[in-house]
Structures are given as structure tokens and as C-alpha cells.
């Protein structure tokens, strides 16, 4: 039976969280049940959380082979990094 059940990726935003974080994956026959399964498996029903489920096939991932061009930061070009600003008081969540 589970062979027919596609894989879903689960993203959860906790009550105080600011963004959805990948929590894990699960098998479900459709989005509605994926949501319910995710609620049982990953949230333990703490209230006020938000759940996203996405079929795994809808996700395009970067290839490990392209790691260098993708992620190697140009450390010799510090002007590319926003490190020269002073953050004013009162700016939150930065």
C-alpha cells in the first residue's frame, strides 16, 4: 500500500517561529492527509503552528557537483557582504 503513497516534505513554523523550517518527510496519499499526518508526526499538536506540505517531486534541488560555483563565497570581495552597516536599535529579526 505505501508503495503507492508519494513522499511529502514537511515544513513547520512553530508558534513563536518566524519562518517555516523543514521538519522531515512522510508518505501520504494526498495533500490533506499529508497535512494531518504531519500534524501527528511533527507538531505534537502544540497549538498555533503552521504546516506546509509539498510533494517531494515539486522540489528542485541544487546538485552537489555544483557546490563550488553555487556556494563558495568570494571571501576576497568583502564588499559583497553586508557587513559595513550598523544596525539601528529597534530593528528586530535580523
Amino acid at each position: 500500500m505505501s508503495g503507492d503513497w508519494p513522499l511529502w516534505e514537511v515544513f513547520v513554523r512553530s508558534r513563536r517561529g518566524l519562518s517555516h523550517t523543514h521538519a522531515g518527510s512522510l508518505h501520504a496519499p494526498d495533500a490533506e492527509l499529508a497535512l494531518r499526518n504531519a500534524r501527528d508526526l511533527y507538531t505534537r499538536r502544540s497549538e498555533g503552528v503552521s504546516i506546509w506540505v509539498v510533494p517531494s517531486t515539486a522540489i528542485t534541488a541544487s546538485s552537489p557537483d555544483e557546490k563550488d560555483p553555487f556556494f563558495e563565497p568570494a571571501a576576497d570581495k568583502p564588499y559583497r557582504h553586508p557587513t559595513f552597516y550598523e544596525i539601528p536599535d529597534g530593528v528586530k529579526h535580523l
Binding site: 500500500m1 505505501s2 503513497w5 512522510l26 508518505h27 501520504a28 496519499p29 490533506e32 492527509l33 494531518r36 499526518n37 501527528d40 508526526l41 499538536r45
Partner: protein, 221 residues
């Protein structure tokens, strides 16, 4: 408590892992409710483990064996819908209000779970539809008992039954199933669970549930 035990029997046997977690979750919710209710009446362990079958007051519906998955879902649909409306009606009750307010959130989820599966099985394949229909047909005669007035609970039982029937009918029809035609009350229906008369499989369930406690009475755990 009895339904919680029945659902716990699914542990390790559910069709898929995700569903097993869902059934276990529901069983744990129900056990939590049972603990509160039993504690209000006396010592929860004593009441659970040392009463004989004839002293149990559960509805006959909840003691019915699991059967196949569709049978379990049918039992869940019929009972969780009832529980939801019952707890909603009890929300203002001085004694049961606090429990009802907490429990209604849990049983709303149980009802949703059962409805989701009723729709999928009923409107699924020919096989799943047949099984779901057989589950509903087999359990239908146990549903009248739910609405027999319970002493000490001042509720509008008739209204409760109307709400239940309307809700269950809507789900069954959406699932392309038919509402069973058999009697829900009277000579061909069940109705004596509250008086301590139970169906055959209940005794075996209790034997398994109470075995350890009766072998080592008085032990702390």
C-alpha cells in the same frame, strides 16, 4: 477507556506507519479523557482493573472488535461524531464542563480523521467501498444506545441525536455510501452496555487488559 484499548490494539498493525501514529494519538487522547473521568469517580486503576465485565458501563459500540481498517474507521466515525456533539453540549456543565471544553478539541480532530478516511474508503475502489459499507452496516445497530438518557446528565438527548444523524448522514452520502437501513433501537439493536450487559468479545478484551494487575494486585507501577 475501552475504545482507547481497542485502538491501541492497532499498534504495529496499521496499514501504514503514518496511520499507526494517528490511531495511537487518538487512543492516547481517549485514555487521557478516561483517566480524568475515572478519577472523578474514584481510583482510576481500581476502576479500570478490578471491575468485572458486568460492572463496566461503556457503550457496546466501543467494545466492538477492530475488524478491518474500514470497520475501525466506521466505529470511529459513529462514535467520535457523537462524542463531539456530546462534549459540546456539556461545555457549560458545572461538573463535566472543564473536561468537555478540553476534550472537544481532541474529538473534533478524531472526527475529522474518521471523516477523511470514510470519504477515501467510500469513494475509493470497489473493494474499499464494500468494506466501508459493511463496517457501517455491522455497527449501525449499536448507535441507538448512545442517545438513551444517562442518569444525572441533563441534556437534550433528542437534539443530540438529530445533530449526530444529520452529520453522519452527510458524511456517508458524500462518501457515496448509503445510510444503513437497519434498526438503531428496539429488539434488534444493542442497548444494554450502560446496564453492564456486554457483547461476547468484551470479556476477552478485559481479561487481556486486566491480567497483570490481577496477577500482582496492589503493586505500584
Amino acid at each position: 477507556m475501552v475504545l482507547s484499548h481497542r485502538l491501541a490494539e492497532w499498534a504495529g498493525h496499521a496499514p501504514v506507519l503514518e496511520e499507526e501514529v494517528a490511531l495511537a494519538n487518538i487512543a492516547l487522547d481517549l485514555l487521557g479523557q478516561a483517566r480524568i473521568l475515572l478519577s472523578m469517580a474514584g481510583d482510576e486503576d481500581e476502576l479500570a482493573y478490578l471491575r468485572e465485565e458486568r460492572a463496566f458501563r461503556n457503550l457496546q459500540l466501543v467494545e466492538q472488535p477492530n475488524g478491518d481498517f474500514a470497520h475501525t474507521i466506521a466505529r470511529q466515525l459513529l462514535f467520535s461524531t457523537y462524542q463531539r456533539f456530546l462534549y459540546e453540549a456539556l461545555a457549560g456543565d458545572p461538573v463535566f464542563g472543564p473536561l468537555a471544553v478540553k476534550a472537544v478539541k481532541e474529538v473534533a480532530y478524531h472526527q475529522d480523521h474518521a471523516e477523511q478516511w470514510t470519504l477515501r474508503l467510500g469513494d475509493g475502489t470497489e473493494e474499499s467501498q464494500g468494506r466501508m459499507q459493511r463496517g457501517l452496516d455491522a455497527l449501525w445497530r449499536f448507535t441507538g444506545e448512545m442517545f438513551r438518557p444517562v442518569e444525572g446528565l441533563a441534556l437534550n438527548w433528542q437534539k443530540l441525536e438529530e445533530r449526530w444523524l444529520a452529520s453522519v448522514t452527510a458524511v456517508i452520502e458524500r462518501a457515496t455510501l448509503r445510510v444503513p437501513g437497519g434498526p438503531r433501537t428496539g429488539a434488534w439493536a444493542a442497548g444494554a452496555g450502560r446496564e453492564g450487559l456486554h457483547t461476547e468479545s468484551f470479556g476477552r478484551m478485559l481479561a487481556e487488559m486486566q491480567h497483570l494487575h490481577r496477577s500482582h494486585p496492589g503493586a505500584s507501577w
